[in-house]
Each structure stands twice: as C-alpha cells, then as structure tokens.
Symmetry: C2
C-alpha cells in the first residue's frame, strides 16, 4: 500500500471533478471535504467514492451546475433544495445556513432534499464547532440494507447520526455512527480481505448469524440494540427524509447499483449555539472534565485505553496529515485509470 500526501490527493480530486465539469470552486470544495474524510480514516467515504461519483456525473445522475437554495424558512429552520448537486455542496450550504440562523435564534434545524451522498456524517456535524456550536447531523443512507425488526424486506438504510460537541483542550467529542452494528462498508472490506465477520453483524433470512461476507447478499445488517436500532433508523429516516420531501424507505435509490436515477437524498443538520445556554468557556471546561472522567475509568481486563467518540479520528487526522494517506493498490489503479480516461494528470 502506498501513501499520498493529503494536498496531492485533494488536488487530484479537484482536477478530476473539474474535468467532469464541476465549476472549479465547487470541485475544490468537494475535494477538500472528501480529503478530510480520508484524513480522519473514513476510508469508505473519501476518494474511494470518486470513481462512482464520476460515473454518476457522466450519466447525468448528478447536476454539476445546481441552484442550491433555501425554498422555505423561519427564524430557526430552513428547507434547502439541493437541485441534485453533489451532496457535499448541498450539506456545506445547509451547515452554513444553520450556523447563521443559530447565531440569532440560538438553535437552528436545516433540512435538505434533492441532495446526494455527502461522505461521512461527522464532517457536517463538526462544521458548527468552529463557531462554538454543537452540531447534529441526520441522513437517509443511499442504499437499503436493513429490514424492520423481525422482517426480511430491506426497507431501511443504516441511517447515520452524528453529534459534535466543542471542548476546551480535549479533542472535540464527535460521535458518528450508523444505526446498525456494522456499516455495510465494513462488510465489503471483510469480503475483500477474505475474512470472516463476527457474529452479530448480519443475519440470514432464517434469522441465523451470517459470518461469511461473501454471502452478504443472502442476509441483512443487524440494527444496534435490536428493535432500538430499527426504531432509530426509522425516525432518522422520517426526520431527514420524509420531513424534507426526500426519499425514504421504498423510494430510496441504491446508488451502488443505479448510477442514473436522481437519488433525492435527504439530510438534516441542527446547530446549537452554546453561548445561548451559558458562558462558552465554562461549558467547554466541563466537557473536558467529563471526557477526562471517562478516560480515567478503571478498565476491563485487556483494555488498554478508553476512547472518547471522535478521539481516534482526531489522532488519525494528525497522523495522516503528517505521514500521508494510505491508498490500497486496487484503488490507486482505479484512480490512475480515471486520470487516463479523463486525460488529466494522475496522482503523482
């Protein structure tokens, strides 16, 4: 596996997207966010997705010149029409809108429709942090891998939730989780590596544990806490999808199999201005203190360290910023092919 400097990867993504006709500023913005995904270790959500995005763009399945705009608003909310643009651009616009509104209203909720896959949930939940705000992000996933609890029809996606909370000296608290025990990307990774999955990730159509990732098509992901994870996936889908007039349940387009049909992806971001509730430094110190209480807990046998949500991504970002981003050889080959197809300079 080779590694690549973040800036070089970002430049490559930008010129790739510009080559398929995204305006240069939009290409650069998406490239920055996709590279951030690779930097924090969300390997299934960064440059890994670039060939797929390019195919969808070339199939006119994504609008490269969207008119992303607010189509309804009140003091603390907005509904954004993403006009089928790249999800990163739609969600960046939504986050900026929510941050501006929370500055006056204290809290804001911005929902989007006609968006697309936008990478890791934590990217958007974290955007309010720089403004001393907490952020929540909800999304309808772009493929259904989850049946209702007790069922076998895959009607739900692993609808993710992310929550980011500002800190003083500690890394920010950033929870980013699918509502299933394992995200589908982890199953794919196990299959690629020829490994067996632990019991509890998937079940088959008889309800028995499915541990061979090559048989993933014969089963379903298991929601966290059984019916609780099913309930979470459902309500996240209703609030991020249905409420915004976006796709949900049977309407969801599997963007891995269908590279043409408009996905009408729904997402939502909530921003909470800490200053509206009390002094910001005091809040941040208290969050630091809570984080340190967790880390200082006595541990189960064999546990070396207790982590806070987001702490490992934070460490990975520092490591990969310094040492580069690892690129598996098959992905590297795909990116070289993409450069050749688009007649652009390859990754150096």
């Amino acid at each position: 596996m080779s590694t690549i400097a973040a800036q070089q990867l970002q430049d490559f993504i930008a010129r790739t997207l510009a080559a398929v006709d995204l305006p240069p500023a939009d290409a650069a913005a998406v490239a920055e966010l996709m590279t951030r995904a690779d930097l924090i270790g969300a390997d299934g959500h960064g440059v890994f997705r670039l060939p797929q995005y390019v195919r969808r763009i070339r199939n006119k399945g994504i609008n490269v010149r969207p008119n992303i705009r607010v189509v309804g608003e009140k003091a603390a909310m907005a509904l954004v029409d993403g006009d089928n643009g790249m999800g990163h651009l739609v969600m960046r616009f939504a986050a900026q809108t929510a941050i501006a509104k929370a500055k006056t209203a204290g809290v804001a909720w911005v929902g989007v429709n006609r968006s697309n896959h936008a990478g890791p949930a934590s990217l958007y939940a974290s955007m309010p942090l720089a403004h001393d705000m907490a952020g929540l992000y909800l999304a309808v996933g772009n493929a259904n891998h989850l049946p209702p609890w007790g069922g076998i029809d895959m009607l739900l996606s692993t609808n993710p939730l992310a929550v980011a909370i500002p800190t003083q000296d500690e890394p920010p608290i950033v929870l980013d989780m699918a509502t299933t025990v394992a995200a589908y990307g982890k199953v794919k990774t196990k299959a690629q590596r020829g490994e067996i999955m632990p019991e509890g990730w998937m079940i088959d159509r008889q309800g028995k544990p499915l541990t061979d990732p090559k048989r993933a098509d014969e089963g379903f992901l298991v929601p966290i806490g059984g019916y609780k994870g099913y309930g979470l996936a459902l309500v996240i889908g209703l609030l991020a999808g249905t409420l915004n007039g976006a796709a949900m349940a049977r309407e969801t387009i599997d963007f891995n199999k269908d590279e043409v049909t408009v996905t009408n992806t729904g997402q939502a971001i909530v921003t909470i201005d800490i200053a509206a509730f009390g002094p910001v430094p005091e809040f941040k110190r208290k969050v630091d203190d809570v984080a340190r209480q967790m880390r200082a807990s006595a541990r189960l046998p064999g546990v070396e360290r207790i982590w806070l949500p987001g702490e490992q991504s934070h460490a990975k970002r520092a490591e990969r910023s310094a040492k580069g981003i690892p690129l598996p050889a098959p992905l590297r080959a795909q990116l070289d092919q993409l450069a050749s197809d688009l007649k652009i300079a390859p990754l150096s």
Copy 2:
C-alpha cells in the same frame, strides 16, 4: 394481581401528592402524567415511583412550591430553571415553552436544569404531536449504571432518547429507548420474578456475561451497539445535562439511594413544526405509508407481526383504559401503607 381504573389511580396519586403539600393543580397535573405512564405500560415510571417521590418530598429533596421559569431565551431556545420541582411539572412547562416557540420559529430547543425524574421519555416527546409537531426528548438518567466502553467505573446513566412523529391514521411513531440493551428497571423485574437475564444485558467486572439479576451489583449494563451506545449515552448527557448546567457523569445523584440531595436533573425537548417544512396532511400520509411498508414486510420464521415504535404502547393504552391498570400485590400493599401514613383515602 388486581387491576384499578385509570381515573381511580389518578385520583389517588393526586390526593397523595396534595397530602405532601403539592398545590392541588400541580398534584393533579403530575397524577395525570404518572397515570399516563401506567396506561402505556411504562410500569417502572408510573405509580411504582410514588412512594419514592413521597419519601423525597418529605425529606425536602423535592421543592413542592417551585418557581419554574425561563432564565435565558432566544427565538428558538429557552433554558428553564426547574427550581427542584417535580420533573413532570418542569418538563410540562418546558414542552409548552418549546411548542409555543416552534410555532413562530419553526423549530425550538428547550433545556432544563434543577429538574427531577419525570417518568417515561415518551410522555414529553409526544406532547408536540397534538400541535402537528414532531418532538425529541433527551434526559440524564437519575442513577449511573453504565461505564464508558471498556471501563468499569459507572460514570453514565442509561440516558434515554425519545422521538415522536405525527401520523394520519396510524398510531403516532413514538420511539422511547434507553441507550443500554436493557433498562435497569428490567433487571430489577427479573430479580423480583426470580428469572435469569439473557446474555447481552449485563457484563461483570471481567467483561463476562452476567445473567443472574441478583448479582446485578457486581456488573454493569451493556450499551446498545457497544461503543455506539456508550457514545450516545455520553452525547445525550452532555446535551441534556452539561449544556443546561445540570448534573452529568460523576455529579449524577443516584436517586434510588439518596433521597435528600438535590439531583439537578437535566432534560431537553426539541419541537419541530411540520408545517414549516411543507403541507401537514401530505407529511402525515407519507409517514402512514412508511409505517405500512414496515408492517407489510415479509418476516423471519416465527415472527408473527412487525411493530412500529410506539405501536405496542398505543395498544396497551387502549387496553388499560378499557380494562384497568394491573397492580402487583406488593405495590398495592405499599400504596395502602402510604395512604395510611398520610391519612388519606386508600385506592378503592
């Protein structure tokens, strides 16, 4: 086990609380909410708690004449000081405040501090439904039973989350969940009945499954999805507790063991006005449609029916409204003793 008509139970709770000096209107309001908990089957959160509430009130651990008030607000948020009143009164006030604010701002977030145990999360998340709003409720639980993932110090409560979403003809979608596989009340119930717990509810200090509920003190609850449930419990605690200046982590008072110290319980409610996002009837029809898609899914072998979140509570409420609320004999005896102590008319 005897049963009691809801109205009789409610009247008994009201006269009990009035006897320990709650103003009659407050006693009636709390009694109505506590009885609602029993009606929906939240048996650990209704009249079951009455003797404990009375002990705490008599110990001056709850303020029976609180000045519950907004101490900070912006267009879409308020911070409420519960003045150590009954949690039901504090949260009812917070929900009313959030509903009023969402009518103009579209969305509102109201946090409370110096509150107390308020019964089941779903009660408050459901209050916005009658106003064609969705509701979210977050709370810091009143006893720590959960260590950070990998740890053995019980620093977190099973911080619950509830989400309620309005429907047209279907029962409303109402998710009410602790962030642990089993709530602690379920462990207590197993112990009372002399039953063994399933593996996965609790682990001991070696990380091994603990299935004897009589040994519950030797172990901890297991969070849903492992580190995910830990992360959820943590961020819910930070947003419902720390953000509001309420207790969190080590500051949490175990209200089962300590009936004197002010708990400084933190809770939060979010209200989302459906009309701000689009036509209400269309939204409700779509939610009905999603609910029916889930219910109509093909099923795993042995599964008789697929449930929507809140559907079983909805059915239980209808059943118990008609047939009465079951009262286990030991609880009945406790309530009779309470009536005798307070010199009030017992349950008839």
